[in-house]
Amino acid sequence: MSERSVLNCSELPEHAFDGRAPIWWGNLLLLAIESTMFGIVIACYFYFHQNFSYWPPPRNVPPTTYDTAPDLLAPTSNVILLLLSCVPMYLLDRAARAGKIKAVRIAIVVSIIFGAAAVALRCFEFRDIHFKWDANAYGSIVWAVLSLHFAHLITGTLETAVLGAYVFVRGLDAKHRVDLTVTAVYWYWIVGVWIPLYAILYWGPRLG
């Protein structure tokens, strides 16, 4: 037991937010992976476009040929809903940073409701695609985009729900405050990545 030079780290905090936290980085890398995947899926969407004279391909139910661009009501409602859902998420993030457990509880419940509504509206979006996944390559790729994003809607909502359950049952400790802010980032990404996908899938055929 002799004296020596040390770097005393005992005063350092046990948690940190944002880019200081490993979990934030882990989430960021997950988002990088998923963004890459969506980028590739959309590249496939455009790739298939060159195999068709009309896009989306016309649906032939003789004697008529139907225009098959997907209906806009459900997806547009969902996009608006998703954009609005960022508000309770943002409030949840603020409350988590400040450690205000009551505000956290309210914001979490509202966020879960928005998430569940988005999941439900997505089911209507599936219905309003005029092809099933096995009709042609267009149907396959549109269902692929919708399904992959649907998986994130479900995962994001469930993640918020489980954290919500924890907050109600066990209260708000420092580690879970950080987790809540990371969940918010995930949710912002779910909404953000959907905007260009929505535009390409639903407006692309009408404008191109």
Partner: protein, 662 residues
């Protein structure tokens, strides 16, 4: 005791008295893995998990080698009847899939998982439970593939599985589906390892180890990890699309030209992953080479900055080459020209690395030709040949002659065996003493090296000529009149010599574990931090986290170099530092052993194996996965005292902790 003064919330240098015995005893207790089977299943120790990866991957290497030997026996003579086409097609498919997915990538990421935490001076990877999960998923994928092969359901459409041959029309049964899901498992494991390596290397470095001071091996692993992040999604998507095309009841049309799908799309997706994949295998090899050369030349790396920039530029350019696998398809010539240009230009950063390495050796003080250095020299010679044939293949018009021939088989083995496996064997000899506390036998090592070097060149050099002389790839036999028999026989003899080399290695491993000379902490007098702790390292890696003042901490350590004190020893705790400067930032609790990684891996297995047979596996598997994730993330209840202790710094406006800006 630690003196407590100065501003709360920051780290500060001071003089203190450390109770080494007490700290060691407490660390041993809080970091121990329970003995026995349950302890083995639930460990979150990055070193145990990495060793598992390495041993498993090496066993797959041996399996892949046996498959290669079967191929060489069949091809040694024209019209041999040793293997019929069905068996041969499964053998070459599983050989390639094993070597690429079950051996090369996992063993390189495993070296990263073992050594990145040690080299950056921390106690574990950033997400220890995730790390354990990654291994179980990898193992599942490997077992799935071999159960397929052994039950005559092995995939038989090549490791690259082109459509339409692998689609529902021409590949009946479950063979290709087994392949597609093996991909899913191994890619998840690779992505997990990549996340671990990046976050650990960015956030958990020892104080003072700024980004420009991290070892070249860590740089190589970080670049590799980023490549994994951006390359793997392409093949996960492609294999899933293939799986849904093939699944009755789903029948998507991604690759069906009759419904607007596209056979070439598969090739784009596969090679967008596939080309970075070979760099994912090669770049860790360059990290190993840099490490070994610095050690054995006993001097600092020549051109550290140039070497780092070469790694990064190889990583970037590697994503711009994939079409060179498709020069024989009807793609527009302008596109082909771009990819020819990129394919030839990527030789530049590789060349920079070779020159820096040779310069380091030349400037080295005293070179002892120990086995690891021999493998490095073998690497340089062999990889340069492979790189030169790579430039040839990058040229579209020349590629049109040698594409899909044994010339490519020669090239790929020259760059993969030369560029990655020789460094790997050098690494195994180099780090064996760190893992086991004993050095490997030098004479057996030299025998191993020479047998492998000679055997390798005897096997693969003739294949260049075979390709020029018209022998295509993936052929189970050939006509005697072609005249290919003599070189094929030579290649098969070479394969026997190469096999003898691998056997010499195995003998060396088993002998040295018992009788190898005791190694001590740093038998090679190396400069990276894994050598600043015992061999093998304790479960907590370092008794006290070191601090670092330059790139070569072990060579330049002084008695007054501070060590980190004040981390908790009663729970598993590590230090998180600033991404760029590695200034200390906060203390980070790591989990104990846990069964949940295994449970989540089981749920994943049910999902992705089930989907081979029915699409219902997705919702069922998703539900199981959800349950496993809740179990994973729902914290155990803690003893009240610890909980009180932990939450003492819970800020409710007292200005501590979370609002700190460093």
């Amino acid at each position: 005791m630690i003196n407590e003064r100065s501003k709360p919330g920051k780290a500060h240098i001071e003089t203190a008295t450390l109770d080494v015995e007490r700290d060691r005893a407490e660390l041993e207790r809080s970091w121990e893995t329970r003995p026995g089977f349950i302890g083995w299943l639930t460990t979150t120790n990055h070193k145990s998990i990495a060793i598992r990866y390495i041993v498993t991957a090496f066993i797959f290497f041996l399996f892949g080698g046996i498959l290669a030997a079967l191929m060489r026996i069949q091809l040694a003579r024209p019209r041999s009847e040793f293997l019929g086409p069905d068996a041969y097609d499964q053998v070459f498919t599983v050989h390639g899939s094993t070597m690429m997915f079950l051996f090369a990538v996992p063993i390189m990421t495993a070296l990263g998982l073992y050594f990145v935490p040690l080299m950056v001076g921390t106690r574990n990877v950033a997400f220890p439970k995730l790390n354990a999960f990654g291994y179980y998923v990898y193992l599942t994928g490997g077992i799935l593939l071999y159960l397929g092969l052994l039950s005559n359901t092995g995939p038989d459409t090549g490791w690259f599985s082109y459509v339409p041959l692998s689609g529902p029309d021409f590949a009946p049964g479950k063979r290709v589906d087994i392949w597609a899901q093996m991909i899913t498992f191994t890619e998840i494991a690779a992505l997990v390892a990549a996340v671990e390596i990046i976050v650990t290397a960015f956030k958990m470095r020892a104080p003072g180890m700024s980004l420009n001071r991290i070892p070249l091996f860590v740089w190589a692993m970080v670049v590799t990890a980023f490549m994994i992040i951006f390359a793997m999604p392409a093949i996960m998507l492609a294999s899933s699309m293939l799986a849904t095309d093939r699944l009755t009841g789903v029948s998507t049309h991604f690759f069906n030209p009759a419904e607007g799908g596209d056979a070439l799309l598969w090739q784009h997706l596969f090679w967008f992953f596939g080309h970075p994949e070979v760099y994912i295998i090669f770049i860790p090899g360059t990290g190993i080479v840099s490490t070994l050369i610095v050690t054995f030349a006993r001097r600092i790396a020549f051109g550290y900055t140039a070497l780092v920039l070469s790694l990064i530029s190889t990583g970037f350019i590697g994503f711009g080459l994939w079409v060179h696998h498709m020069f024989a398809t009807p793609l527009p010539q302008l596109g082909q020209s771009f990819f020819t240009g990129a394919s030839i230009m990527i030789a530049i950063p590789s060349g920079v690395q070779i020159f820096c390495w040779i310069a380091t050796l030349w400037l080295g003080k005293r070179l002892e030709l120990k086995t690891p250095l021999l493998f490095v020299l073998g690497f340089v010679f062999t990889f340069v040949i492979g790189g030169l044939t790579g430039v040839m293949l990058g040229s579209a018009p020349l590629d049109l002659q040698v594409h899909d021939t044994f010339f490519v088989v020669a090239h790929l083995h020259y760059v993969l065996i030369g560029g990655a496996i020789f460094p790997l064997f050098g690494a195994l000899y180099y780090w064996f003493p760190k893992w086991t506390g004993r050095l490997m036998n030098e004479r057996l090592g030299k025998l191993n090296f020479w047998l492998m070097l000679i055997g390798f060149h005897l096997t693969f050099f003739p294949m260049h000529q075979l390709g020029i002389q018209g022998m295509p790839r993936r052929v189970y036999t050939y006509l005697p009149e072609t005249g290919w028999g003599a070189l094929n026989l030579l290649a098969s003899i070479g394969a026997a010599v190469l096999t003898a080399g691998v056997i010499a290695f195995l003998i060396n491993v088993f002998w040295s574990r018992r009788h190898g000379a005791p190694a001590g902490d740093n038998p090679w007098n190396s400069d990276t931090l894994e050598w600043a702790t015992s061999s093998p390292p304790p479960s907590y890696n370092f008794l006290y986290i070191p601090t670092v003042r330059n790139r070569y901490p072990v060579w330049t350590v002084e008695p007054d170099t501070p060590v980190v004190a004040g981390l908790r020893t009663d729970v598993r705790e590590a230090l998180v530092t600033h991404t760029i400067t590695a200034a200390p930032d906060h203390r980070y609790e790591l989990p104990n052993s846990s069964i949940w990684p295994l449970v989540l891996a089981a749920a994943t297995a049910v999902t992705f194996i089930g989907v081979i047979f029915t699409a219902w596996a997705i919702p069922i598997g998703a539900a199981l996965t959800f349950i496993a994730l809740v179990g994973w993330f729902w914290p155990n209840s803690e003893p009240a005292a610890l909980e009180a202790e932990r939450h003492r710094s819970l800020p409710t406006g007292d200005g501590l902790s979370l609002e700190q800006q460093t």
